[in-house]
């Protein structure tokens, strides 16, 4: 067994994810299977191989670099309309700073 209930709970806390007891058990089993499968990668020798982080798009000009110019979007009302607890022009959240 590669992964314990405590491991799942620890990771869920890191991810700010509430899991029920039965979810913890289910995911523990699934993760165990998947991580055991992933161990397959230890069969290959990757000494000296450079990690590939992104298939970098071939750029023929410098357009990926540009001046950082402020452009007004004027969408505050539209954006706040979708928020669960807006108070224009802010998003309201439970208190984080004690008085």
């Amino acid at each position: 067994m590669k992964i314990s209930r405590e491991d799942v709970l620890k990771v869920a806390a890191l991810a700010n994810l509430e899991l029920s007891d039965s979810e913890v058990d289910t995911y523990r089993g699934h993760l165990d299977d998947i991580l055991t499968y992933i161990d397959k990668l230890n069969e290959i020798d990757t000494t000296g191989v450079e990690p590939l982080t992104q298939v970098v798009a071939v750029s023929t000009d410098d357009s990926a670099l540009r001046d950082d110019v402020v452009v007004r979007a004027d969408i505050i009302t539209e954006v706040l309309r979708g928020a669960p607890d807006p108070e224009a022009p802010y998003f309201r959240v439970p208190r984080v700073i004690e008085k």
Binding site: N16, G82, F91, V93, P94
Partner: protein
């Protein structure tokens, strides 16, 4: 015109030009079809009639004024629900974005509309594009129009099914590990995953950023090429979009295939492939040879490690991308006594099982002490898989494989074992990791009538080549093999 009429883009144009139908009537007809079948098939999650009729009226006015029409004038399109559409609900198939209406359009959508296309609505998909069957949607699975007790594939199942059921002429999907190609194969339509960087992702809600791409579904290869002509190319709003020139995809279709070398990877035809799928792919390869291609046996030795590398990289990136869903800016909030408790409850209730599973896995492989063993190792293996493709393309012009080792399966048949579901992505994740374009084109049906898809991979930015080959294959009767 019957409700089952399949329209292609040139047919829409011919009918508009001949004044046999107006754009408004076209939209009305498609909404009538959707009205009739959507309850059963569950393809559309939201419709956008105001926007569609407004666009139709613009096209009709242009026709009345005798103006030149753009290339996709009047063409009804469906858009996967992970692609942003201003003011139209965009949920990613998730409860956590229920009721969310983006404040802007994705560039791919803007370009389609500038070319005259008409957005009918948003299509169902696996939650946040995570899945291979559409059964991970919070809004229920899509049914495969070819066999309604079967899955349409995933994650872009709604978009594939929309085209297969003639509830849209073309559709946009997204592909991270096979999510355009595999449902294309399951539903019997053409589906293209373009090169990484070919199509702007501005407005695409991210799953795994180093892998995500937008691609078209169509009932013909020519239609897919026409959509690609519109959506391809550099977008200043997406710094990962490439400034590589976009060739004329349509002009390239008519050339003969003669002399092209097609690589058949021995490593792709091992255990796990359904015998009927194998038979249809063999017949497909024979057809390509008949058309003048030369078959070359190749090795892709790192193929067997692709799934493991993919599920490390994709889940790691997903765990980071999905951190933004916290009940502050969009979607429903579950109250909590503290900020953290509010995050935890909102995310715990808002995300479905597969998304939670991938967030937990992705967070685990990135967590202290495991990064080198998993994420870094995965990226190194990714480099080896990309090298397999580079070396293969020194010997061949294209690589031909099955799109999926199995045809569409029954709803509910594979939900119990996530790993088993992941393993079936083998032929598509390799190309996802390597960043190369791949097209799935119908290649006959199994004895029970389920479509089989043949996949053609080309080198990076070789969309013209895979479209060209798929077109010749289709014109030679590939789908009736």
């Amino acid at each position: 015109m019957s409700a089952s009429t399949t329209w292609t883009i040139p047919e829409v144009r011919a009918a508009l030009d001949a004044r046999k139908i107006s754009a408004r009537e076209m939209v009305k007809d498609f909404y009538a079809r959707i009205e009739k079948r959507n309850a059963e098939l569950n393809i559309y999650l939201a419709l956008s009639p105001d926007r569609a009729f407004a666009q139709a009226d613009r096209i009709d006015a242009a026709i009345a004024a005798g103006d030149a029409l753009p290339s996709l004038a009047g063409v009804p399109v469906a858009v996967k629900d992970v692609i942003s559409t201003r003011g139209i609900p965009t949920t990613c198939g998730s409860r956590i974005l229920e009721g969310y209406r983006p404040a802007y359009d994705a560039t791919a959508v803007t370009r389609l509309e500038q070319a005259g296309a008409i957005v009918l609505g948003k299509t169902n998909c696996d939650e946040f594009a995570m899945g291979s069957s559409n059964e991970n949607s919070a809004y229920g699975p899509v049914r495969n129009p070819v066999a309604t007790d079967h899955v349409p594939g995933g994650s872009s199942g709604g978009s594939a099914a929309a085209v297969a059921a003639n509830l849209a002429v073309v559709a946009l999907g997204t592909d991270t590990g096979g999510s355009v190609r595999q449902p294309g194969s399951f539903c019997g339509v053409t589906a293209l995953n373009p090169s990484y960087g070919r199509v702007s992702r501005y407005g695409l809600i991210a799953y795994a950023s180093s892998l995500d791409r937008i691609g078209p579904f169509a009932s013909t290869v020519r239609d897919a090429a026409m959509v690609m002509s519109v959506i391809s190319g550099r977008d200043p709003r997406d710094s990962t979009s490439a400034s590589v020139p976009v060739p004329d995809y349509i002009a390239g279709l008519a050339r003969p295939l003669h002399g092209l070398r097609i690589g058949i990877p021995d490593d792709y035809f091992g255990e796990g492939i359904d015998p009927e799928v194998r038979k249809k792919i063999e017949a497909g390869i024979a057809l390509l040879e008949k058309l003048g291609c030369r078959r070359v046996s190749i090795r892709m030795p790192n193929t067997e490690y692709a799934i493991a590398a993919y599920y490390i990289i994709a889940t790691a990136e997903a765990s980071s991308n999905l951190a933004r869903y916290d009940g502050v800016r969009y979607g429903p909030r579950v109250p909590g006594a503290t900020l953290i408790e509010m995050y935890q409850k909102t995310r715990g209730r808002g995300f479905g099982a597969e998304v939670k599973r991938r967030i937990v896995l992705g967070t685990y492989v990135l967590s202290a002490g495991y990064y080198d063993a998993y994420y870094l190792k995965g990226q190194k293996v990714r480099a080896l898989i990309a090298r397999d493709f580079r070396e293969a393309f020194e010997k061949v012009d294209a690589i031909v494989t099955p799109t999926s080792p199995v045809p569409a399966f029954r709803l509910g048949e594979r939900t119990a074992n996530p790993l088993q579901m992941y393993l079936a992505d083998i032929y598509t994740v390799t190309g996802s990791l390597a960043g190369v374009p791949g097209i799935s084109v119908p290649s006959g049906k199994t004895s029970s009538g389920l479509p089989v898809g043949l996949q053609i991979y080309g080198p990076a930015f070789g969309e013209d080549r895979v479209l060209h080959m798929a077109h010749a294959f289709e014109q030679a009767g590939g789908q009736d093999l």
